[in-house]
Symmetry: D3
Amino acid sequence: MAKVVCFGEVMLRLQPYHYERFVQAENVQFTFGGAEANVAVSLANFGVDVSYVTKLPSHMIGQAAINSLRRYGVDTGKIVRGGNRVGIYFNEKGASQRPSICTYDRAHSAISEAKKEDFDWESIFSGAEWFHFTGITPALSENVLEICREACQVAKKKGIKISCDVNYRSKLWTKEAAREAMTELSEYIDLILINEEDAKTVFGIQADKTDVHSGKLNKEGYEEVAKKLMEQFRFSEVAITLRESKSASDNDWSGLLYDGKECLFSKVYPVHIVDRIGGGDSFAAGLIYSFLKGDDSRKALEFAVAASALKHSIEGDYNMVTVPEVEKLAGGDSSGRVQR
Amino acid sequence: MAKVVCFGEVMLRLQPYHYERFVQAENVQFTFGGAEANVAVSLANFGVDVSYVTKLPSHMIGQAAINSLRRYGVDTGKIVRGGNRVGIYFNEKGASQRPSICTYDRAHSAISEAKKEDFDWESIFSGAEWFHFTGITPALSENVLEICREACQVAKKKGIKISCDVNYRSKLWTKEAAREAMTELSEYIDLILINEEDAKTVFGIQADKTDVHSGKLNKEGYEEVAKKLMEQFRFSEVAITLRESKSASDNDWSGLLYDGKECLFSKVYPVHIVDRIGGGDSFAAGLIYSFLKGDDSRKALEFAVAASALKHSIEGDYNMVTVPEVEKLAGGDSSGRVQR
Amino acid sequence: MAKVVCFGEVMLRLQPYHYERFVQAENVQFTFGGAEANVAVSLANFGVDVSYVTKLPSHMIGQAAINSLRRYGVDTGKIVRGGNRVGIYFNEKGASQRPSICTYDRAHSAISEAKKEDFDWESIFSGAEWFHFTGITPALSENVLEICREACQVAKKKGIKISCDVNYRSKLWTKEAAREAMTELSEYIDLILINEEDAKTVFGIQADKTDVHSGKLNKEGYEEVAKKLMEQFRFSEVAITLRESKSASDNDWSGLLYDGKECLFSKVYPVHIVDRIGGGDSFAAGLIYSFLKGDDSRKALEFAVAASALKHSIEGDYNMVTVPEVEKLAGGDSSGRVQR
Amino acid sequence: MAKVVCFGEVMLRLQPYHYERFVQAENVQFTFGGAEANVAVSLANFGVDVSYVTKLPSHMIGQAAINSLRRYGVDTGKIVRGGNRVGIYFNEKGASQRPSICTYDRAHSAISEAKKEDFDWESIFSGAEWFHFTGITPALSENVLEICREACQVAKKKGIKISCDVNYRSKLWTKEAAREAMTELSEYIDLILINEEDAKTVFGIQADKTDVHSGKLNKEGYEEVAKKLMEQFRFSEVAITLRESKSASDNDWSGLLYDGKECLFSKVYPVHIVDRIGGGDSFAAGLIYSFLKGDDSRKALEFAVAASALKHSIEGDYNMVTVPEVEKLAGGDSSGRVQR
Amino acid sequence: MAKVVCFGEVMLRLQPYHYERFVQAENVQFTFGGAEANVAVSLANFGVDVSYVTKLPSHMIGQAAINSLRRYGVDTGKIVRGGNRVGIYFNEKGASQRPSICTYDRAHSAISEAKKEDFDWESIFSGAEWFHFTGITPALSENVLEICREACQVAKKKGIKISCDVNYRSKLWTKEAAREAMTELSEYIDLILINEEDAKTVFGIQADKTDVHSGKLNKEGYEEVAKKLMEQFRFSEVAITLRESKSASDNDWSGLLYDGKECLFSKVYPVHIVDRIGGGDSFAAGLIYSFLKGDDSRKALEFAVAASALKHSIEGDYNMVTVPEVEKLAGGDSSGRVQR
Amino acid sequence: MAKVVCFGEVMLRLQPYHYERFVQAENVQFTFGGAEANVAVSLANFGVDVSYVTKLPSHMIGQAAINSLRRYGVDTGKIVRGGNRVGIYFNEKGASQRPSICTYDRAHSAISEAKKEDFDWESIFSGAEWFHFTGITPALSENVLEICREACQVAKKKGIKISCDVNYRSKLWTKEAAREAMTELSEYIDLILINEEDAKTVFGIQADKTDVHSGKLNKEGYEEVAKKLMEQFRFSEVAITLRESKSASDNDWSGLLYDGKECLFSKVYPVHIVDRIGGGDSFAAGLIYSFLKGDDSRKALEFAVAASALKHSIEGDYNMVTVPEVEKLAGGDSSGRVQR
């Protein structure tokens, strides 16, 4: 019986080695990832019982996707097999002034064409305490939006805590569609994870004078956004990751957590980037782990930020770090000295 | 001005290294291929002016596909840019008793969703002497079938020789659809390439007592098929590749050419396989090259079979051999002695 | 609840790429394997619920070993964490006249230093139908021999079928120690897997005139060995794999199964070798799968031999093949033709 | 008809992976590069019709060099085949305080032994608007100096704009030889690219108090050099790249352009280096592209500096960036945020 | 006749590529290293005649260890063959806030089980001028401690200078054991290399207010430690490396040398880390080289610090730099400009 | 003091991975080889003291060449440093009907431009018992021919046994030049290694009706050639390797040795080829080793043929096999069974 259930897509991730671009590449890394899958693996690496729910074709690429989750201890017994495609994303890693480029090839994936009947949420949620999904999942198709809605309803009924990372993807749906769907789903969400841009795009909530391209933080703006979100919806917590992007190689990374009482800002980590894909997902996993454990907001925020700072040093989508490693960093040891 | 025009898809080919299966792979070869693209590259490697016609997305994976063709000298100036996907195939290389497995993920590719207006065949064929396509292309979609028909009509009108490799793909269309389309298109085809199985499936033409899984050849059966095909259509030549599959590692490889007069069987090459994908395509390229040069049927057949025997020793879809290399083998030197 | 429980070591396997020797290697494959682990993974790939029992250190290499099993669906929940070392084996792949060389570095591994208290067999066997181990495991240490004995006793008591692959390893124990231990354990064993050499070394049972280095089979000798074994012990079946080693690249592979009634010899597969490590283990897995399914001796033998013939085409210790793939080969299709 | 013609060598570039040194390497990257070839590929990546002129052996390594240019869309139809060697350079990538080391093995290359008759400049320049070469090319041999002279004369006669990057190489010729040749060729050059050191070495033009090893810029000194060059020759523009080398891993990068009216200094980019070989060449390509398009000096300079700042994040000699990517950076977005 | 003799272990070093962790790795670098071996190779790269003394198994992994030393010119003729294991260490490379992790698997290595009779120090030291070992070696086992003692006695008797890098390893012995052994061995040691932490742990010598995790230096504290060490023992020099660890990617690196007269602090190098394992060993090698050459303390210190700063840019344990490279950096050129 | 001295070139060997051709390769193996270097390394692997004499540049590629020899235990202390180039050969590995292609880029290498004064043969041969070179070395240049002559004279004077492998290379010199030089040098040679083709080309000695391309042996012809050579010169032994090239993947391999009394033919090994470059060199090394040990002709021949059969299973030029491995095969065990 899994304590946490994550629902979403898992995609094949193809990436050239080193800093090669696809036009010059002859071989690529063959790994898997996806917003909710990243949360699931990160939780499994923290020792949490977690089950991943999706739909994957029965062919060898679908099997490889399942294996990539099982390898790190995620329960895959609830994954439905069928459909034709595993969604794919091509990731070209940037450096210095050159940004990373993600090109998605996910239309018509098995999960995007899944049907409501594919998932029996009463059974899936048996014994669960937490349900996590992101705004990417309802954006996949009308069907999947409906499946999300049903999952939320069943989870709510069973008293399962629900977290959602808004993650607006303009290539998947329009602002209007996102706003309508996410507004409705927000009724069910306890912990919302969002960034400033999406707060504006999806919920029309805006703070003053922040430019995501300037690389400078506007703390007050972020606080304002968090509070407005809390006013508008019945979230128990609003969490925001704060990325100051100095270049594709160096970012400052921190987070905010507002629990209705205090708006907490975490320690800031200057990260030298190995792979920043999945940074936000590892933050979500950190919060879920810490809240499940019963930590208070400050501890949860610092755990989540430390976990996700470490993610930036990890190859691939999945955050391959353990609880003691995160706690060591959250506890203040960021010297990076060799551990023997 | 290209002498030869090839029309079809070019796909991203993903394959694990060595004999790994996808479920255990962490990195894959990132190359390109496709039936007609393979013919085009092979012809370019023979020094022929050849132009490839397809539709590819404007994103980096589409560009990588174009680069893979340009690299070997194929003219890509007539490729239309647009659409969303590059078709993909996942190839798992077999050995000994374990067969190779090709899993296709090609639905919704840019070319399969191309429109008739995308291609101006009058202009494309300007200066051309030969047009090549395969039965895979009209199978991609109704639209592409119509585009093929138009291309054939324009080519015929301009006196361009047309070759077609039947290549029936049961995952793309039904037998009935294939029979209807290929029967109609056969009106335009001069040189047809086919195997015994497809002759039966697509044209209902059958020889006695040959079992494709037995690994034994039935020469008379093949001859019978060639002759029946010639009676039924107005082909100038019928060519058949003959593969005796002893295992995934070792095959005997030869070919048949019937020009309405004599039914020629080529020398048989026992091939120790490096990569057999594209074997038939390299045979087609060999025939086209040799006929363009003005060779007689015997010479053309032996050139094509030698070229395609060599293909089995080449990594990837494309046949990376030169005319002198093929002529050396066709001339009888199969000792494989080091050339210094 | 696992249907099958396997007990033994899982080792880190280090192997240079291609046909490199260690003295010239700069990078190596980092995978895992071990006689019983190979059986467990093979069964998991056949869709069987299988649990692996061993002891592994809590450090990152121990974790990597667990991940390698989980990836393919083996239940690792009963693995005890502790101790210092993961056993290692260095494998240098041979070719042609040059044999592969396995150098073991397994002394002091966590499992070899495990204690009886580490394993609660009553609980481990809850719901199980089959228990598999090999003669390597009791050879690891006195402690592990005792653990094996206890496991067999509990399994017997619960009516669980027990299989054992004798696998004599002269580097781990003397002939005398092996004979004493295996004779005792044979009391509990239902299905014994053995080769001619070990029958002589371990049980003193010998057939006439067979020379394992000649590359020629002595069918009668093998039958004689099987019958003598059956007379001496209360095995329900004796199975022997028959390898005719023509070179490190090419073997003929078949098997024998004697169920007390008939001595069956399987079809012989000429295998062109990708990796022959784990050949015998994949044969054991094939028998277990087939017997669990209720197949008769002939079907079980042919399934097991086909499965293990395929293993020779697979990279690494683990047999990465599915039931339909094995059934296709056992059904007679050994042509290795590409599957699209 | 190519708009731009580049003339020079193309060399095989061998480089170990990661930060390995050759004495510890067992495998190397096999790519191609060379000052003018880098300009040609960069222009092709900008969508410019560009033709590369050189001489390459007819063997497989010569062919591989051609393929490397074709792949990115450079016209190779004017490359002369013959001679024995492809020049080679061995590049060992530095980091931190350890500099990269380029060891050249280019003597006796096909182009260095080319003859005047090999190139028909009237025909080569048919339809061209721009001719680019560097000071490395006339340094290859007396013959090639003469070929350069002829090329310049024909280009001048045809009203083709000529750019030259001085690039003094002390291993190829003496200061005196360089001064004599470059002074003569400067008669034909419109746009000269140079650095401070070469201005002194080749033209005896010197500014005060700049130490190339100090890592500090002397803006006035650079301006002085540019102006003196303009006084001495009839250049239409003088361009200088300004590299402040803090370490092998981090540089500040900017440029200067003097058009006889104003001496412009560009924005400064702090670059975290992936590969800095070809930085100057990508700057030249940026200027040529921008001037061809009709941009003014400020825009051309900023485009060229942004293009070449991006080059530092690209693997290999060739600058694999597109016009929109450069314009995005030149437009001020240097945050390196992931593009989805 | 070797001028320098080093005695200790040489271990197999396994490390995933890039920044992968072992739990996600499928292939690893296969190299060798170890504290004294690193010193030996570094000296050999400086052109010094150096002999390595250890014990290694006669199997292929032992041979590979020997080859790794021979490759760089270390004399391996005095290495004893025998025993079962080559010690192994698993190194996971950290980045940014994530530390590198070294997991040792060295118990029961051939050298740790070596016997006194294995080494004839009279013969080994014939012609030698310098003997180097580290505190890791006597920690391997009681036997090896005794061997070290004997080596020191023979060296002393022969007037050979002795250097020792304290290198306390808490996984190998207790503080008490280390203190007793190192105090005794210090009688023989001329040049001691140590860090502040070990001075306290091993010799109970402590300075005020320095926190090794703060990343800040306490110069006075270090000086105090050096002086106290000199008072307590009869060292001719005390050397301390000073690492300010800002993160796993960036450190400041410098050193201190106290010769009883002056306490010298070197230039500080900000190093961007490729691989920091072996940093201290390369510092030791720099001092030994410089002292052997007859340099004064200032010159020796600056040479050693420059050499070890460069080590941080080198892949693997061994410092692959030459004397001119070190002298160039020590001489002030840290710009990292490409050398052609 | 080396027992054996080998003199010749050592070249950088660049080869794509798997069966890739250079036109499609992006990375290549970076190893070293050369006829006499291969003999030297093979002897060192047999435990013989062997010194390699050549000239190599002082740059990093020259150093890498030296390291490649030192790694396997060859004494490199007599190698002269200087000159500009390390000779290079590009090797493309063939398979099945496609031959391997070696493209040499060795002109102007340091050794080919060496001067007589570079080598002091009196000192080089101090303590030596055997001198080996091949017909490639005198072909490098007039200078090197003269150096060979001097080496032979000094060796003869000192009573050192001389072996030479004729190895005619038509790209290096004409038949006439080869005949003149080799005829003269043959005065000094004791053991000559040659093939039938070279016997005809170089010495004009011919047997009847053998076609090197037929793949069939003509035993009598070979015997005739051996005897005629012995009549014409004062060789103590004539050795011929017999390769029946069935394809680039499979050869039959054996040898002949004529000692003036009996003409011995060895056992024939059917080899499945990993890398056949250096096959002849490993045969030479086998003979030298065996004769040095005092074996008789039969034993020496069988040892040499077994050693060189094994070479065909080894990656790279150098034969990485030990004496016990060769003796095991020569003793009749060619089953290739795994050695544990």
